[in-house]
């Protein structure tokens, strides 16, 4: 009885104790794990001492700091201005790049980490199983292979190695100093940890740029499918090599020297290559955005009010928050440069120093080809090459997946490069046949692109600039140049294969060496121009030279934007920086200037309803500007799009996807030349459709869409152009564009399009607008759609966006040694060896 009573007493306490202990532990456990679709640990995330609250930066935060690191050689100071732009003053190069790395990490750690892991095919570590195919494709594209080859080059040269080593040490010094509570908020949201930096990761970042800018500029697979359907003369019309309206980078009429290398077409090309009617249906996972592009131009003193050259550049990339760019000034007693850097890589990529200014646009050249591989068997250990079975190097890729098991993938490397698609990855077509497509891509070749920027940061004149860019291989870039001594120049620089006519447009036979690249265009033969008579040079992703250029240079060129730039610059005199600001924000639609007369001439007004006429009038009265509130641009765009569909939908219905539609400039030229083109007729009807029929029909199709949308939404239609173009800047980790919308800036009131100088199209557009006037002292203006801090909890996160939308600029402060007590200095960060 007594025993029972004691037991009862204990039980009365033990049971509730156990119940509440289990409840406490259970709650902590639940809060320590991902909740629902959010990967973060909720309890930790909410904790004001560990979680996101720690990332809420006080509006009055001081960035003053005194820091010491054993990795430094001497003393250095960083002066921040009121826009949080650091002006770094170091005693030597190593300390300079150490601090650049430190600052990149301090303000942009998450983006560097995410981007380089994604470049290496490790996105699944962040995103889980949904990124496995992306990761496989990155590995099969040979991104790590390319970065490892680049790393060898980087570390071959002692100056280059020292710069990259110091940069890496700076990043790791910051990561090492981080308390868990201080890590960027994205890590907390995604429940991942920062990873240490290495030179390889900087190389990966540069290869990410190579992929972005030189991996989507070929259409080998789509052209192969088109070739299976269209006759050669039809292909020439759909995809012309030299557009009629082209205004090339190298002014027309330039005489080119005799080519040093004349590649020879293989004897079997007509039957095995051009004549082969074969299709491919592999699935590309992450093709670079086709709207990547850029503008740059330079005017000589003869065309400016001051008599000094003005250089302008605006690279059009995916605009993200945080931005791809980080503004910085880097000074040592031996060098002084200002501009934008890319977090993850040392140096200034676009900018100026005391003697010169430089900028880049993409060359758009095709430097990536596919070769069909025949393996002996499913093991892929051997492939048929030059009449014998040749061993492939098999590389096993290990892909770690958040919340899942490790995935393995085996990639076969051939004499060309990695086999991107095969039976084990996206390479089985609808008939069940396996296709093995190996890549030959210049990004795989050993090179040190970063070092070009090291040299450009220090270049004093034209010769230094040419020397700096000469080793730049991939992605091919148009380097624009101006110097204080008055020189202007523009070089298209890269490592470009010398192709026989038609080589690499389609998937090539890979069973012997006869279809391999036979050599490269000598660097000095790359298209370039210096101090032209007319006083300006420009590039806007057009073909670099007209048909007089002696090499076959396919690519994905955009013709219209460069025409607008060229026409404007040709007409301008007495140019000031303010004129250049206006030009960078220009909305003139050059293609529409040619297309509208066709539309208005061929539309059959007698067949139009009242509603159709309303839209027709809007186009008639349009000022040809793609401005944010333009309704003309909205109607024109849809009408022109519907017309293109009306003309080509029937023909292209026969082409297997992957598809690549002719570009709109080519279509415009085709219609201008031949208003009775055979493409106009709908091949699926018995009658013959004329241009007038399809122009009228497409206006009616557009009317219908506008009227339906108006009925559905209750909004007036057509809407202003910015409502149709959806200008927005999304968070860099928000691939779905809906999970982190509060970190984005959407519904921006800005116009433009990819063929307009102000090239805003959706989330793509001018990611940095820069104008440098080569006066003494240098006068420079710039703006980018972001802010210096990558922290969504900082007021510096998106602080330039509104200015950028309005077409306004920041005056850049090129700080001098004597300015250290200037009122522009808001905060000072002092570094020393310790």
């Amino acid at each position: 009885m007594i025993v029972f009573s004691a037991f009862n007493k204990i039980a009365m306490r033990i049971v509730p104790f156990l119940v509440s202990a289990v409840a406490t532990a259970g709650l902590v456990y639940a809060l320590n794990r991902p909740l629902g679709s959010l990967p973060m640990a909720a309890g930790k995330f909410l904790s004001p001492q560990y979680g996101f609250w720690q990332n809420a930066e006080p509006a009055s935060k001081s960035f003053d700091e005194e820091l010491s690191f054993s990795g430094l050689k001497g003393k250095a100071e960083v002066y921040f201005d009121d826009r949080l732009v650091p002006h770094v003053f170091a005693e030597n190069d190593e300390d300079l790049y150490f601090i650049q790395g430190y600052l990149h990490a301090k303000f942009r750690l998450f983006q560097m980490d995410l981007q380089t892991r994604a470049a290496a095919g490790r996105a699944s570590e962040f995103a889980g199983a949904k990124a496995i195919n992306f990761d496989k494709e990155q590995r099969r594209l040979g991104m790590v292979f390319a970065a490892e080859n680049a790393l060898k080059e980087i570390e071959k040269d002692s100056v280059s190695k020292a710069a990259f080593d110091a940069y890496t040490s700076g990043i790791n010094a910051y990561i090492g100093s981080l308390r868990e509570a201080d890590i960027p908020i994205e890590y907390k949201l995604m429940n991942v940890k920062p990873e240490k930096w290495s030179n390889l990761r900087s190389a990966l970042l540069l290869k990410m740029m190579a992929k972005m800018l030189s991996s989507g500029t070929e259409h080998d697979l789509a052209y192969t499918n088109a070739k299976a359907v269209f006759m050669p003369e039809e292909l020439n019309k759909l995809y012309p090599q030299v557009p009629d309206s082209l205004l090339p980078i190298v002014p027309k009429g330039t005489v080119f020297e005799k080519p040093a290398i004349i590649p020879v077409q293989p004897a079997s090309a007509d039957s095995l290559y051009f004549g082969k009617k074969d299709t491919v249906s592999v699935k590309e996972i992450s093709r670079p955005n086709e709207n990547n592009g850029s503008n740059n131009w330079v005017v000589s003193g003869s065309k400016t009010q001051s008599g000094a050259p003005i250089l302008c550049n605006d690279p059009h990339l995916e605009m993200s928050l945080p931005s791809i760019w980080y503004e910085i000034q880097l000074q040592t007693p031996a060098s002084n440069a200002y501009g934008v850097s890319i977090p993850g890589a040392p140096f200034i990529i676009i900018g100026f120093n005391d003697s010169i200014a430089w900028g880049v646009t993409n060359s758009q050249r095709d430097v990536k080809d596919y070769y069909e591989i025949r393996f002996k068997d499913k093991t892929r250990k051997e492939y048929w090459f030059n009449n014998q079975w040749t061993p492939a190097r098999l590389q096993v890729e290990e892909i770690k997946v958040k919340g899942g098991a490790v995935v393995f993938d085996t990639v076969a490397y051939t004499v060309y490069g990695p086999v991107m698609y095969d039976e084990s990855f996206q390479g089985t077509d609808s008939s069940g046949r396996g296709r093995n497509l190996a890549l030959r891509w210049t990004a795989h070749d050993p090179s040190n692109e970063g070092f070009t920027f090291y040299k450009l940061n220090r270049a004093k004149n034209y010769d230094d600039y040419v020397n700096a860019i000469a080793t730049f291989q991939c992605p091919g870039q148009n380097f624009v140049f101006a110097s204080k001594s008055g020189d202007i120049a523009l070089w298209q620089q890269g490592k470009f294969p010398a192709r026989w006519k038609g080589q690499g447009l389609y998937v090539m036979p890979g069973e012997d060496s006869s279809y391999m690249w036979q050599g490269f265009i000598p660097q000095l033969e790359n298209p370039h121009a210096k101090n032209p008579e007319r006083g300006y040079l420009q590039s806007g992703n057009q073909r670099p030279a007209d048909s007089a250029y002696p090499y076959f240079i396919p690519g994905t060129y955009l013709t219209a934007r460069a025409i607008t730039i060229d026409n404007k610059l040709a007409a301008m005199t007495g140019i000031t920086p303010a004129d250049m600001m206006k030009l960078q924000n220009d909305y003139f639609n050059t293609t529409a200037e040619d297309v509208r007369p066709l539309l208005l001439h061929f539309v059959n007004e007698s067949e139009l309803t009242e509603s159709d006429k309303k839209y027709l009038d809007i186009v008639k009265n349009w000022d040809l500007m793609a401005s944010p509130d333009s309704k003309g641009q909205t109607v024109y765009s849809l009408w022109w799009q519907k017309l293109q569909e009306e003309i080509f939908r029937d023909e292209f219905a026969r082409v297997k996807s992957i598809l690549w539609m002719p570009d709109q400039q080519a279509i415009m030229e085709l219609l201008k030349k031949d208003t009775a083109s055979a493409f106009i007729d709908n091949i699926n009807t018995t009658g013959i459709e004329t241009l007038s029929d399809v122009v009228t029909k497409s206006l009616k199709a557009a009317t219908k869409l506008f009227d339906e949308a108006a009925k559905k939404t209750g909004n007036k239609n057509p809407g202003e152009w910015y409502k149709a173009n959806h200008p927005a800047i999304y968070h860099i980790a928000d691939a779905s564009r809906n999970s982190l919308l509060p970190f984005a800036r959407t519904k921006l009131h800005i116009g433009g399009n990819n063929d307009i100088i102000n090239a805003v199209k959706g989330s793509h557009g001018p990611s940095w607008r820069m104008i440098v006037h080569m006066t003494t002292p240098t006068e420079a203006y710039a703006v980018y759609p972001g802010g210096q801090s990558g922290n969504p909890g900082s007021k510096f996160y998106d602080s330039f966006v509104d200015k950028w939308v309005e077409g306004q600029y920041n005056k850049l402060w090129f700080m001098r040694e004597g300015d250290k007590t200037d009122k522009n200095v808001k905060w000072v960060m002092k570094f020393k060896k310790g």
């Binding site: 104790f17 409840a23 709650l27 309890g43 904790s47 004001p48 509006a59 970190f743 969504p792 909890g793």
Partner: protein, 118 residues
């Protein structure tokens, strides 16, 4: 008196646990548990001290941080979670979650000791 002592101790020890680098984010669950053993109260009272202590600490800290940040981040996080972008609600939720864990830990502690006055 006991109630106030327990609550203040809960706040102080939780704050200290939060700045110790080796302590996990839930370190305060242990300190609240210890406080409830040390300053014994009946179950529901212990819970209330534990809850209130952490609610005050977490909501207070969050409010202080939020004020200096002009609600820039909290309004974004409150839109992601989703709490309709309401910063005040997010501060309250923060306080509630901390309070709940602490309260449960405290009640557990209170069951561990025999009540001194029956």
């Amino acid at each position: 008196m006991k109630f106030i002592t327990a609550t203040i101790l809960t706040v102080l020890l939780a704050f200290i646990a939060g700045i110790l680098s080796f302590s996990p984010w839930w370190g305060f669950a242990i300190t609240s548990f210890l406080v409830a053993i040390l300053v014994h109260q009946k179950g529901w009272k212990a819970f209330l001290s534990g809850f209130l202590g952490l609610f005050l600490l977490w909501a207070g800290l969050a409010w202080w941080i939020d004020m200096q940040n002009n609600s820039l981040l909290s309004s974004k996080i409150a839109a992601i979670l989703p709490l309709g972008g309401n910063s005040v609600l997010l501060i309250l939720v923060t306080g509630f979650v901390g309070g709940l864990v602490s309260g449960l830990a405290a009640i557990t502690g209170s069951y561990l000791r025999v009540s001194s006055h029956k």
